[in-house]
């Protein structure tokens, strides 16, 4: 079995995997360009390459892409892709306090370890995990998404109420476009352009980038991005400190990676929910008075989860022929180009291709370590350019990044409008993360919710009749009760003080 892992590797394949990882990091480090776009761009090369080389290259993009999104999230507070949607919450403040090298080290090493754990899970228990994932039908997926959304909204730092308002606003925006079941146009004001709905990518770019740009350009002109005046060796010391921190966070890495792999194995959930769920769990479990230690855990957890998710997402694709996310859907296309049929018989029918793909994953993880660790001082150097030179360029990149998604100016308008909304939301204490997550997951939630009702012929108690969804709803209920009791205690204390 081990022989099969690396039997397809030759110089060309290894070079293409290396190129794929570098390309994946680059693509996802540019806000607006996602790992999916990176994989799609390289897909045409599949026609000219043998299966091992082309799939290895795409695997490299997949693995590199999951890690690369953390770079702009930590350095300029703009997540490069949905997978790094919570990395900036703790990563950016670490960079602001002069620990950019340390934060990037944490993100990159935990990404690598997460991917490695995902690979081990994929190698050892993929058939068992795919059986478990198959139990997640519409009802269970609906409960899972609801749990994820509620956790994120309820744990908003400023106000739980504002967190939920932000979430509802995101869900409202997610309903714009065609209804997923009956294809009825909704809130499109009789325009064709709005019928396709509002994509979360321009919203994400606008809501994270534009408030910073507005703040720095027109409100307070002394705004500066965190810079780091350290040389290569000093940066490596920061990375070494990150390694030491990670060695002390073994449980966080393992827990987050397992969550990532399980979420990845459930088709249709995606990296954003893997990262946020594991982040929220870490926030609850890892209680530390040391703020830096707590911030470190907040970077490690989502990065380990989103990278291990890439291994998890391969499980349903390879063993059931069901892609777990858009990237694996494109990879499924690449497999079929080469006449390979993913499904329950893949391991027995195409053992070389199956284990070859796992081998490419392992090599990608190896190159990820090298590229990211060598790259950290260069990423930090890029940010050393004065903020006043960087801001206009970031604004232009935001416009191009939004436009690039669908070659549509509508997305640019959406980016700007939501950027302004986010600016006012920030000023008035409404968290933006629940809104973006609700926009990403809103469509899945509605589709699965309606499907559940169709399956049960309109019986809403279906959610309490299935064991997995009942368990998830009990967890949600316990959590909401805890938040409510905490709120009541606060009110009683305030009254006592008065």
């Amino acid at each position: 079995m081990i022989d099969l892992l690396f039997s397809n590797l030759n110089f060309l394949t290894i070079s293409l995997i290396f190129f794929g990882v570098a390309f994946g990091i680059l693509v996802s480090a540019i806000p607006g360009l996602t790992t999916t776009i990176g994989v799609v761009l390289l897909l045409p090369f599949s026609f000219y390459l043998d299966s091992a080389s082309s799939l290895g290259m795409l695997m490299g993009v997949f693995v590199g892409g999951m890690a690369g999104g953390a770079i702009p999230a930590i350095l300029i507070n703009i997540p490069g892709n949905p997978a790094s949607i919570v990395t900036n919450v703790n990563g950016y403040p670490l960079a602001q306090s002069g620990k950019g090298d340390f934060a990037l080290g944490l993100a990159m090493i935990s990404s690598t370890l997460g991917a490695l754990i995902g690979l081990i899970i994929l190698f050892l228990i993929s058939p068992e995990l795919s059986d478990f994932a198959l139990k997640f039908g519409a009802v269970e997926q609906c409960a899972l998404v609801l749990l994820g959304l509620s956790l994120v909204s309820a744990l908003s730092e400023k106000s739980v109420m504002k967190g939920y308002i932000s979430m509802c606003f995101g869900l409202m925006v997610a309903t714009i476009g065609l209804d997923p079941i009956t294809a009825t146009p909704r809130y499109n004001f009789n325009t064709v352009t709005l019928q396709q709905g509002i994509s979360f990518i321009p919203v994400m770019i606008g809501m994270f980038a534009l408030p910073t740009i507005i703040e720095s350009l027109i409100i307070s002109k002394d705004f500066k991005f965190p810079t780091l005046d350290k040389n290569f060796k000093q940066c490596l010391v920061g990375v070494f400190d990150a390694l030491k921190e990670i060695l002390q966070s073994k449980f966080n890495i393992i827990r987050s990676s397992v969550i990532g792999s399980i979420i990845g194995a459930i088709p249709g959930t995606g990296s954003a929910i893997a990262a946020t769920l594991s982040y929220q769990l870490t926030k609850k479990i890892e209680k530390s008075d040391n703020k830096d230690r707590f911030s470190s855990q907040g970077v490690i957890s989502p990065e380990a989860a989103n990278s291990s998710m890439s291994g998890g997402a391969l499980i349903p694709m390879l063993t059931l022929g069901i892609p777990g996310d858009p990237v694996t859907a494109v990879m499924l296309g690449a497999l079929t180009i080469h006449g390979l049929e993913p499904g329950p018989l893949m391991i027995s029918s195409f053992p070389e291709a199956y284990y070859g793909l796992l081998g490419s994953f392992a090599v990608s993880v190896f190159f990820l370590v090298i590229l990211t660790l060598i790259g950290i001082p260069f990423f930090l150097k890029a940010i050393r350019i004065k903020t006043k030179y960087l801001m206009p360029i970031i604004f232009v990149l935001c416009i191009i990044g939004s436009f690039a998604l669908r070659n549509s100016m509508l997305d640019v308008w959406i980016m700007i409008i939501f950027g302004v909304i986010a600016f006012y939301m920030n000023r008035n204490g409404y968290p933006i993360l629940p809104m973006i997550l609700a926009l990403i997951l809103g469509k899945i939630l509605e589709e699965q919710f309606r499907m559940s009702l169709i399956i049960s012929l309109g019986d809403p108690f279906i959610f309490f009749k299935k064991p997995i969804s009942l368990t998830l709803l009990i967890i949600l209920g316990c959590f909401l009760s805890y938040i409510f009791v905490k709120f009541l205690k606060k009110v009683i204390n305030q009254n006592k003080n008065v």
């Binding site: 109420m161 509802c168 606003f169 409202m172 009956t182 027109i218 206009p392 416009i399 204490g429 309109g458």
Partner: protein, 145 residues
């Protein structure tokens, strides 16, 4: 009596958005599937939850004062951005991006020569990366077919 603050205005906007959303969600034709509901089901559920949270939030204390100067500056910035964007199909993407870059560099008091160099270098790099490598097609200026 409510004191007019930015936060209060923002809350009024939220409630207005809710009313419009709720009104529109009642208008959908009820092509009901086997579940017995139509396209308006999910929006109505969101509207009800949204209303409950928004009304509770509406009656909490407002802190953010209305800063007229900052809001006017933001409005001016948005007008400067929106006008070229509206005419992008006539002016072309490169021209509009160059205009934004030049304007923002000017606002940030970058010397004029440096400003021109940065603007041109950024546009050329954007062309090479996004058009040549990523094969995007930007809106062109009106006289280019």
């Amino acid at each position: 009596m409510f004191k007019i603050t930015e936060e209060l205005l923002f809350k009024v906007l939220i409630l207005t958005a809710f009313i419009i959303y709720f009104y529109l969600s009642l208008q959908f034709p009820s092509i009901s599937m086997q579940e017995g509901y139509g396209a308006g089901l999910f929006p109505i559920i969101i509207s009800i939850s949204f209303f409950l949270f928004a009304i509770k939030d509406f009656f909490t204390k407002n802190k953010q004062e209305f800063n007229k100067k900052e809001n006017l500056i933001l409005l001016g910035f948005l007008i400067i951005i929106f006008i070229p964007m509206y005419f992008i199909n006539i002016l072309g993407m490169y021209f509009v991006l160059a205009l934004f870059l030049f304007y923002l560099n000017y606002v940030l008091k970058i010397p004029i020569i440096k400003n021109i160099i940065i603007t041109l270098a950024t546009i050329v790099t954007a062309h090479l990366v996004f058009v040549k490598i990523f094969k995007l097609s930007f809106p062109e200026i009106w006289f280019i077919e």
